[in-house]
């Protein structure tokens, strides 16, 4: 490590930045000082300036992304306006969001060597550093692999190793887990935690899912609209009302505790309590409260759809290669009006199964009937009149010059009339009216996602399928999109979506289907399906599991449900 940097390893003073071609500033008067060895979480909604701030720390702003720059950034004693990005790269390691686009070599070893070659280290030193980096990140077994043989989580760990080899003092990670499944995310975060704990590297991490990292970090900085609005220890910041106002997802256990504190006398909680950051702490702090809530007759609200079956999947087997089946005998019936979450790890077969519903995949064995059409006989275009499909990456949808044309495109190619009216209606529904004449690709991620959904909703398909519609979105956008979907199915239509996000599945929809290795392992009403599972239970449910012996209903999935139960319990039990 370069030892010349002491305390105040990262300093920004009155930092302002406006991207060229933009009217609104991305950063407004940002002043922070980060000490060596700190683990800092940068939180806030999408578009709040987190990524821009991160890019200021290694000089990509203003050297790579031009614009109006004001104030000062000093990292390890270097003023970023004077130092080049290449110089700063020796002090600041940067890991990007997209695992694919930051690996430039055809072999992991060469990937790690890339930065070291750039700074002109001799061969034997490079060899030593490669070993060291591979070992530290725990990927020695991947050394000869091509990036296409790696999973998302592995790619991110390779990216970490490749910047670690440069011996940085500071590691900046811009949403490194947002494209990974829960297991991949955990693997990456474990490595980051270890680098901070054992090597003392300063870490600045951007992450939407606070529940994953809250207990690891020393400090949380919250941004909104380019400004810093809160900065402090995690427990302190969690109690800050301004955090909630930004629409950030508060970890459910924290949320529950805060709401209990708000509604009841503090004596219902354990003496000398603090805000719990993990399930373990939550159990400790909330135990006295739940002990009093014994045996309430609470039942979760469930919807049982009795409409006709619109999707019928019968014993489907499928594989791209003969001897490697991806789906191994999947059977599933979905009724009209249902709202189904399809959960499972990466490569468990979720997307492969969804593609069967519109004929992009044809079963090798078994059959799929959608709205009375057998997918082996109907064409994709015929099925597309009944089934709308929103893919993972909205960029793959966008082809037109304006949002209006984008939404009108499928209507035209399917030969609908009164296009103008239909587009207007759907733009209104998704609050996109003011972007009507904008170039879709210039919009933010969340807006693009809405345009993609709008272009599918425009022809009002009977069945709506979404492949990970909430991936990479911040909390308020996630909630907004899920509410739109819920409204859509209430019109007698069917919605199926895949997700990694158990919390979202717990809050919305009414049925949970969990896949593992090409098979459906759980298919039930969500309260039955998601309760008492280890990996696929939401946080509140994992905490409640230890309160079962007090008679607390085991089907509680969300904060709201937990509050209902507490309310009934306390009112009946008295104080």
């Amino acid at each position: 490590m370069n030892r010349e940097c002491g305390e105040g390893i990262v300093l920004t003073e009155g930092l302002h930045f406006t991207y060229s071609g933009s009217q609104t500033p991305a950063l407004v008067d940002v002043s922070i000082a980060i000490d060596e060895g700190e683990f800092v979480l940068l939180a806030g909604p999408s578009g709040s300036g987190k990524s821009t701030l991160a890019r200021c720390l290694n000089g990509l702003v203003p050297h790579f992304h031009g614009g109006k720059f004001g104030g000062r950034v000093v990292v390890c004693g270097l003023d970023t306006r004077e130092a080049t990005v290449a110089e700063l790269a020796r002090h600041v390691g940067f890991v990007f969001q997209d695992p694919e686009n930051q690996l430039v070599s055809m072999e992991v070893e060469r990937e790690i060597a890339f930065g070291l070659e750039n700074i002109g280290l001799p061969k034997d030193v490079i060899g030593k550093r490669i070993e060291e980096a591979l070992d530290t990140v725990g990927i020695l077994h991947l050394r000869k692999k091509h990036p296409k043989e790696l999973s998302g989580g592995e790619k991110q760990r390779v990216a970490i190793a490749s910047v670690l080899a440069l011996h940085p003092n500071v590691l900046v990670l811009d949403e490194p887990t947002s494209e990974l499944d829960p297991q991949g995310a955990e693997d990456v975060l474990k490595v980051v935690e270890r680098l901070n704990d054992e090597l003392g590297i300063t870490v600045i991490l951007i992450e939407h899912r606070l529940d994953r990292v809250m207990h690891l970090v020393d400090r949380v900085i919250v941004m909104n609209r380019g400004r810093i609005i809160a900065d402090g220890e995690p427990r302190e910041v969690m109690r800050d009302e301004r955090l909630r106002e930004t629409g950030t997802e508060i970890p459910p256990v924290v949320d529950l505790t805060l709401k209990v504190m708000e509604h009841y006398e503090p004596d219902v909680l354990r003496d000398g309590f603090k805000i719990p950051l993990t399930v373990k702490e939550g159990r400790k702090i909330l135990r006295p409260l739940f002990r009093r809530v014994n045996g309430v007759g609470w039942k979760p609200k469930t919807h049982h759809q009795t409409g006709k079956i619109v999707i019928s999947i019968e014993n489907v087997w499928f594989g791209y290669e003969y001897d490697q089946p991806i789906l191994k005998g999947v059977s599933l019936n979905v009724r009209k009006g249902e709202f189904v979450a399809l959960l499972g790890r990466n490569a468990s077969g979720k997307t492969t199964l969804l593609k069967h519903l519109i004929g992009l995949n044809i079963p090798s064995k078994g059959r799929v009937v959608v709205c009375g059409l057998d997918t082996r006989e109907a064409t994709v275009a015929e099925l597309a009149r009944h089934v709308g499909f929103v893919f993972q990456n909205p960029n793959d949808h966008l082809i037109a010059d304006t949002v209006f044309e984008e939404v009108a495109f499928p209507l035209k190619s399917m030969g609908y009339d009164n296009i103008e009216e239909r587009v207007k209606e759907v733009l209104k529904l998704l609050k996109l009216e003011r972007y009507r004449d904008c170039y879709p690709r210039s919009l933010s991620g969340g807006e693009k996602q809405r345009v993609a959904i709008a272009s599918v909703l425009a022809f009002k398909p009977e069945i709506l399928i979404l492949d990970e519609p909430t991936r990479g979105l911040d909390f308020s956008l996630k909630e907004y999109i899920m509410k739109i979907l819920d409204g859509y199915r209430k019109n007698g239509r069917t919605v199926i979506y895949s997700t990694h996000d158990v919390e979202t599945a717990a809050r919305h929809g009414d049925r949970a289907v969990i896949m593992s290795e090409g098979k459906i392992v759980i298919d039930d009403e969500k309260h039955k399906g998601l309760a008492n599972a280890l990996l696929f239970s939401p946080q509140i449910n994992r905490m409640i599991q230890s309160f079962r012996r007090y008679g607390v209903p085991e089907e509680i999935l969300t904060v709201e449900e937990a509050l209902e139960v507490i309310d009934i319990g306390l009112r009946r039990g008295g104080r």
Partner: protein
């Protein structure tokens, strides 16, 4: 059908002689149209495929070539009416084609051109499957090609799989939006591809910006002289083998200038001469000897565990 790491004498052999070998075969197959030479050149590409245990991947390329032979033969007999042995004659005139006749000579010539295609595909199949792409890049660097050009080649091959999966996904997306790719006239079909092309180009542009960002964040563009962790090492044996293979090319070129191995297809197939058989066998053995010798050395020594390059 890409490179796969394996511990065989062929995989472990240095990239330089292998690439010179493939180029030699390419040139020889283009300067000779003698059937004996062409067939023997094809046979010469089989031993490395066998020793390298890559028959499965190799045959994928060869099958691809076999698929094209009938096309080449058909085109040749349709447009080439030279030759005296008429196998079939239509007997009346057609617009554009005149009075079509199929001759034995044109048929045979078509088949031999198919064999020539097979020779080239087969030689390059062995390179594709047994040479690590990085080795090719390192060879380029060794030949003093500027680093930035090598990097561009390297980045393009790195992102080909990504691009292909992009094409697949975007095609799927646009099909679910009611796009029918294979419908209508040819012009309509080409127009139908636009909804796939537009997002593909836009995605690639956005990707290239992200790649550039990631590279700069790892000190790319630093003025200092760049070092290279891995370089293609050439032992004296490698150089000797390279020179030997290169001399095969010289032998071939000289023989061609002296008029050996020339073959006439028209107006009647000329007889196969002894000289051309000798030439073919000579070239064949010179092309096979390096592989046979590494294979023998490999089997007589203790198999080592390390990989094929560096």
């Amino acid at each position: 059908m890409v490179y796969k790491e394996a511990n065989t004498p062929i995989h472990r052999m240095n990239a330089m002689p292998k690439i010179i070998w493939a180029i030699t075969i390419l040139i020889l197959s283009l300067i000779f149209d003698n059937p004996v030479v062409l067939i023997l050149l094809f046979v010469a590409t089989i031993p490395p495929a066998v020793f390298g245990k890559i028959i499965k991947e190799w045959s994928f390329f060869v099958k691809f070539g076999l698929f094209f032979i009938p096309v080449i033969v058909l085109l040749n007999i349709a447009f080439n009416h030279n030759g005296e042995h008429i196998l079939y004659s239509l007997g009346y005139d057609l617009p554009f084609f005149g009075s079509p006749v199929i001759t034995l000579e044109a048929l045979f010539y078509g088949i031999m051109m198919g064999v020539r295609l097979l020779v080239i595909l087969s030689a390059f199949a062995i390179i594709t499957v047994s040479v690590h792409p990085d080795d090719i890049l390192m060879l380029m660097l060794k030949m003093k090609v500027p680093y930035k050009s090598v990097l561009i080649v390297s980045l393009s091959s790195r992102f080909i799989p990504t691009l292909l999966s992009d094409v697949e996904t975007i095609t799927d997306v646009q099909r679910t939006r009611g796009l029918e790719l294979d419908r209508g006239s040819i012009i309509k079909r080409i127009k139908n591809r636009f909804p796939v092309l537009v997002p593909l180009l836009a995605n690639s542009l956005e990707r290239s910006v992200e790649i550039a960002e990631a590279m700069e964040a790892r000190a790319f563009g630093e003025n200092k002289k760049r070092t290279f962790y891995k370089e293609l090492k050439l032992s004296n044996a490698d150089k000797l083998v390279s020179v030997f293979i290169f001399s095969t090319l010289l032998v071939g070129i000289i023989a061609r200038f002296l008029g050996y191995g020339i073959y006439e297809y028209y107006p009647v197939l000329s007889p196969i001469e002894l000289e051309s058989i000798i030439l073919g066998v000579l070239l064949f053995s010179m092309l096979v000897i390096p592989y046979v010798s590494v294979w023998i050395t490999y089997n007589s020594s203790e198999p080592l565990a390390h990989g094929g390059h560096q």
